[in-house]
Every structure is written in C-alpha cells, then in structure tokens.
Symmetry: C2
Subunit: 426 residues, 2 copies
C-alpha cells in the first residue's frame, strides 16, 4: 500500500520481493470472508495431524543439532515436539477458528449536522512480523491468530528450530492454499541468517508491526533498531502489596500462588511489599512457607527482623525479573510507599494489592497504571486466556496500541467510513 | 515508571533530568480529577487573554528574525500572531475544556468462571512528545489536548517561532500552576538546537509517544531515528473515483470541492480517477471548470482525448502530493482498476468514490483500507472537527494505535483491572 518511491534506501532486492508478496496476500486476505478464514484454520489443524511424522522428523534433526551444540536442557525442552504437542498446536488452531470474528465490527456511527454518517470499522493491521526464539509451536500459534484477524504473518524463528519451523510452515502453507487463501498468507524469511532480521526491521514499507517474543536482549535489539513499529514487553517485575487491612489468609495464598505456581513466567511475583503494620504477623509464617517450597528470600532490613531465612536484598534485587524461586521483599510504611516502590522499580506489567479496605483498594487500582492491576487475586491471572481474551499473541508493556495481554482483537485497527449524499465543504 | 537501569546508553544527563520531571508530573496529572483539568484549561485560556501583549511582543521578535533570514511569505504567515489569533487559541482551550472527559471510561467488564472480574479502563498515555515547525498556535493546541487527556506534553517547536513559543509556554505554565496542577505538565526542550531532537528520540524511558507535525522530511527523520514510538503521516495523496454509475452532478461538485476548496492541505484531492464509461460525458465539463479555477491538469492518454487542457502525466504525478492547484487524472476501466491504482499510488490517507450503485459503493468502502474511506462526499470531510472527534492532535496513516484523524481519545490507552476475592490459579 506504500508507494514504491517510499521503499527505504538500503533494503535488499530479495526483501522487497518478499514484502511485495506479503502485501499482495494481505490485500487478498483483507477481502476474504470470516468463513474462508475459519475453513483455512480448520484445514491447517487437519494438516498438522496428517503430517505429524514429517514434523517430528524435522524436529529430530533440530534436537540432534541442539545436542551437538550443547544447548541447555530448558532450551531443548522448549524445542522438543512430540505427537501430543503437535496435537495441542492443532487444537489451538481449531479453538482460534471458533473465536468470534473481530473484523468488520462497527465501533461507532454518528450522523453529523450536514447529514454525513461517520463510522469506524475494525480492519486487519495488514502484515504482522513475529520474531521469536526456539519454540516451534509459536509458528502455528502466531499463524492461527494472524489468519483469524485477517493478517499476513511474516515469521522469523530461531535457528535452533529451523527444520521444525520449516516443516510446520510448509504443511500450513499447503493447507491454507487448499482452503482457497493465498499460500503467502504465511511467510517466513528464507534463512535464519541474522542479517535477515536487519532487513525485516527496515521493511516499514511492507510490515505494519513487529512483535518480538523471547529474551530481553532480543526484544531490546528489535526495539532499538526497528523502523517498523514494535509492540513489546521487556520483562515482568510484578509486585504484590500486602496492605495493613489485608485478610492475611488470602494474602498468604495469593503470594504463594503468585511466586510458586510457575516461577519461570513473566506474570510471577518478583517482589512482595508488606505493610509494616502486618509485617510482624504476616512475615514469619509466610517466610516459613516459602522456605519449605524452596524459595530463596532477599529482603530489606526491616523484613529480616521477622524471619531468619531472609537474606539482605540489594537494589538490583528490586529491579530483577528472577524467573526463578527467588523473591525480593520490602516492608513499607503504607500504600503510598508501596506505590512509590512500584513506580521506581516496576516494569508496567502486573501489580496486585491484597486488602479488605475499600478506599485503599480503589486508590491502588486507580493510581497504579501498570498494564494489569489486580485486587485480591493472584498475579498469575494476568494472562489472555485467564482474562477471557482467547489465545495470546504477546503482551505489551508500552502504552501505544495495546497495553497488557494481547488477543486477536489487538491485531486489528479501525478505519473511518463516511457515507454522504453529495455533501461538499463550505 | 521505567527502572533506572533501563535508561538508554548515551542519553544526556540534562535530558534525564527533564525526563524525570516529566514523569513526576505525569504521575500527578494521572491522579488529577476531570474538574482540575477543566480548571487548568480555563485558567490557561484566561492567561493567554491577559498576556496577549507579552506574546505579541515575543512574536514580533520572531517575525523580525524571520525577515532578516528571508523566510518565505507562507512561512511568515504561519508564524505571525495577532490579537485575533491569540483569542482563537484561548477559545480553542475553552472548547477542549468542554469536551467529555475521555479518562476513566470503562470499556468492558466481564466476570470469569472463577469469579474474577476483568475490566478495561481508559488511562492517559503518560508523556506525549510533539515535534513541530513554525506554527506557534500548536503550542497552545497541543497543550490543551494533552491536559484534557491527562498527559504531560513535551514540546519541541521550530527555531523560527522560538520566542513566541517560549512566551506562550511561560504564560501557560504559570496558569497551570495557578490552577493547582504541576507546572511540568507543560515541558519543552531548553533550546531549539537540533541535537536536542536527537535526545528526545532516544528518551524512550521517559516519553510514551512522539507525534511529529510538519513537512515530510521532518516526519521521515523522526520515524527513522526514534526509539520512542511515533504516530505519523507522511502525506495525503487522496483520490476521488468517479464511477460509471455516478450522479455526475454530485461528482462534479465533490471533485471541485475536494481539489479547490483548500488545495494546500493533506485532505485535498490529488488524483481523480474516472470510469471510462462516463469519461466522455464527465471530463470535458469538469476539465473546463477546473481550468476556470486555475487548476493545472495532468492526465493519462485516454483522459487527454476528452479535454485539450490536460497535459500528459508522468508516473511521478500519480505519486505526488501537490498541495497546490495541480491535479493528476487517470481514466480507469472500472472500480477494480481504480482500487488497483489506489493501492499502488495511495498514501493510506483518504479515498472517495462517487457512485449511486449500492454494490459498487460497498465494494469500495470494504476493500479500500485507507484510514478514511468516503462515499459521495468531499475528501475535505476527512478532518477531526468535521467528523465530530473535536480538535485534532494529528493524523495517522500507519495502522498502529490510531488510524486517521486523532482526537483526545487517541491520546489515551487502556489498562486492565481485575477484582477478585482471594482467587489463586490452580
């Protein structure tokens, strides 16, 4: 949709060809019906099931290469596919197919004094770039969410999963074509060579957005170097504040769940803030329960008065996204000091207050402007699926376009439609 | 709200100090009431009126400098203030004060099966950077729209208007402080030295968005070099397609208005596409009317068969935003060829169809995904005020966050608010 003259200087000829193919597919896809997109998604789900052997064979090659390169076991676990995981990918596509269609929704229509009708209608973004690391399931998940929302997906997966990604993509492309949509609805870079990332980041004439998924350094690299708009989150330094008016049983369950349920994910609690008025009652039992679950505790001086198993915390600990069984603790005077701490150390991801006091809860929910603010429930609910948004394409901790967990609706934009009967401006 | 460690390398110490002041003001502003923001806007309007002499004196210095530097008359006209223009700025602020408050709006709330309530609430973006050229009225307009939507505005005006901008800003800052909001709600760079733009573009730890307003080269520079998300439009190459089923009287009025009413603005028509079935009837009269209004016509070969005053068009003419009494013309086979032309040469700004055929109109409105698509009315209605959005902070032709004319609502984002009663995730 951009004029040829606007093609940025220095963009390689190959990337231009890919970009033009993506744009052509995006135009066709924007004109497809909701039923065609559902059919394509079902066709993709079936194709994954029918070609599971071929996919697992490709995955075995990646696993072999990973072993030869000595990748760590967490990475290998993310990389590994089996029949069950392929079936999950297929089921995910069917679930996305069944979502309500986000496209065509009329968000408003008003009649102006001169009789023109001004409406706003939901349309696809166009071409969505996804840069991700070693998880081959992202290939199918991202493809599904993008097709549902009428977008071409332009993938750049990690080199560790190159064979798996290629096998999955090839199966899905055929399935999309069999269902009557352009094969180029699903695109990827020709190789995992790093220079191609640079080409993607320059291709603002062809890509409407890039969503990087992976470690902080990858995301930071993309954000700092991209001419294409980026939706991102760097990290989740999530807080729970246990207020002086908290129900301490609820507080203990929520803090325990927020830290221990799945410590390696971005919505796990990383710092617990405790009002000084309940610290003497709350901290000793809480610290013991954490210790039994193997959680390493690092706290401020005040907190260490109430439990022997709390190590001294440094300022770095309050900035840290541990993604592990480590917890930073700070005793605060009151909600205002808690909010100040969050504003200094937080990452705009998710913060929680535990309190039975109406006014204190309201203050927290109104004044804390992280993407998800929670009263009296675990931070682990900060998740597209748990919040009823359907499958998640990512999470945004910057405020433009989307803020918080992103579902299919966040892969759309709105155009204005004006209907007149010959009006001109005087 | 960002951790200190995330401050990008290379950001100057002075910019960090300014950024931290802006962030502190943004926190205070986010907690202000709608009435406080209304009071601040009214106080600002009054202050402009009371200090008109001081503002005009500063403006006279800018005009003197402009004359000495030989700036062209269009630039001088944009720069020049008088009592009437200052009064318009004041009235603009009062009008913005009277808008409905966009903040706090609950966009949805749903109850999940486990009883948690998930809502979405409108909040400010935070700190909005505006980079603009010689129009001093932008200082007051942007300040007004940002305060209404709860945002700190961070201004970088053109050096031509340095004295005027400083005088206006100083008056407005005092007025905001008198109304009880932080002076730093309105910030600007300390000088108009160009290196400061670079500092702004790197300050993604402090600015939530930058909106560049001005010529295409300024906007392109900002878009290509900013680490802060940018909302922009490069240019408006707007099309009117006169369909074979057009009411030719409406078509003539609409095309004439779209080209001639105000040719120097981005929603003026730049290319007229005419169906070959009506070209013989429509073009001769239309071309004559344009000629009488002093419009230079450049068309394809087919168009030149119907009017002697059409010069040959080059491919560049179809890419051009003339912003002048020049019009490119092309005869097309049908709506599909018209849409193809728009997709090749368009700028995603505004496109119009003139047709009485229901199905053709629907096809155009559905398939053309420019930010504003119009049936049977002038492209000049692609304007926030005309569309009922209130005053316009800018226009976006990229799809992320906002697409089309932007009002105060587009200076906000949405956070999720979850209310529980002790739920944890199992």
């Amino acid at each position: 949709m951009k004029a040829v003259e606007e093609t940025p200087m220095g963009l390689g000829a190959e990337m231009k060809v890919l970009g033009e193919r993506a744009q052509a597919a995006a135009r066709a896809l924007a004109r497809s019906s909701g039923q065609q997109r559902i059919d394509a998604l079902e066709s993709m789900a079936q194709a994954l099931r029918s070609n599971v052997d071929q996919i697992l064979e490709a995955n075995a090659q990646d696993l072999e290469a990973a072993e030869a390169r000595g990748l760590d076991s967490a990475m290998v676990d993310r990389l590994k596919l089996d029949a069950g995981r392929v079936e999950s990918m297929a089921q995910g596509l069917s679930e996305v197919a069944a979502f309500p269609d986000p496209l065509g929704e009329v968000l408003m229509e008003r009649v102006r004094p001169n009789g023109i009708r001004v409406g706003q209608v939901r349309i696809p973004l166009g071409v969505v770039g996804i840069i991700y690391e070693a998880r081959p399931n992202v290939t199918a998940d991202a493809a599904g969410l993008c097709i549902k929302s009428g977008n071409v997906v332009f993938l750049r997966g990690g080199s560790e999963a190159a064979q798996s990604n290629q096998a999955i993509l090839s199966v899905l492309r055929s399935a999309v074509a069999a269902a009557g949509l352009p094969e180029d609805t699903l695109m990827s870079l020709p190789t995992t060579d790093r220079h191609w990332i640079g080409e993607m980041l320059k291709a603002d004439a062809y890509l409407d957005v890039i969503i990087p998924r992976g470690g902080e350094s990858l995301i930071r690299y993309v954000a700092e170097n991209s001419r294409v708009p980026v939706i991102k989150h760097y990290k989740g330094v999530c807080h729970v504040y246990v207020d002086g008016d908290a129900d301490l049983n609820k507080a203990e369950e929520i803090c325990f769940n927020a830290k221990v349920h799945r410590p390696g994910v971005c919505n796990a609690m990383e710092t617990m803030l405790v009002s000084e008025s309940v610290a003497p009652t709350f901290l000793p039992a809480m610290a013991e329960r954490f210790e039994q679950a193997g959680v390493v505790l690092r706290g401020c001086e005040a907190s260490r008065r109430y439990a022997e198993n709390i190590q001294p915390a440094t300022d770095d600990d309050y900035h840290a996204e541990f993604l592990a069984l480590i917890l930073a603790i700070r005793v605060v005077k009151d909600i205002n000091e808690a909010i100040d701490h969050i504003e200094t150390y937080g990452s705009d991801h998710t913060e929680c207050i535990v309190s039975e006091n109406y006014t204190t809860v309201q203050q927290f929910l109104e004044e804390v402007n992280s993407s998800v603010v929670i009263a009296n429930a675990s931070t682990r609910f900060s998740d597209g699926g748990q919040m009823g948004l359907g499958a998640e394409i990512g999470i945004s901790t910057t405020k433009l376009h989307a803020y918080g967990p992103m579902g299919v609706t966040d892969l759309t934009t709105r155009k204005y439609v004006i209907r007149g009967t010959g009006q001109v401006r005087s």
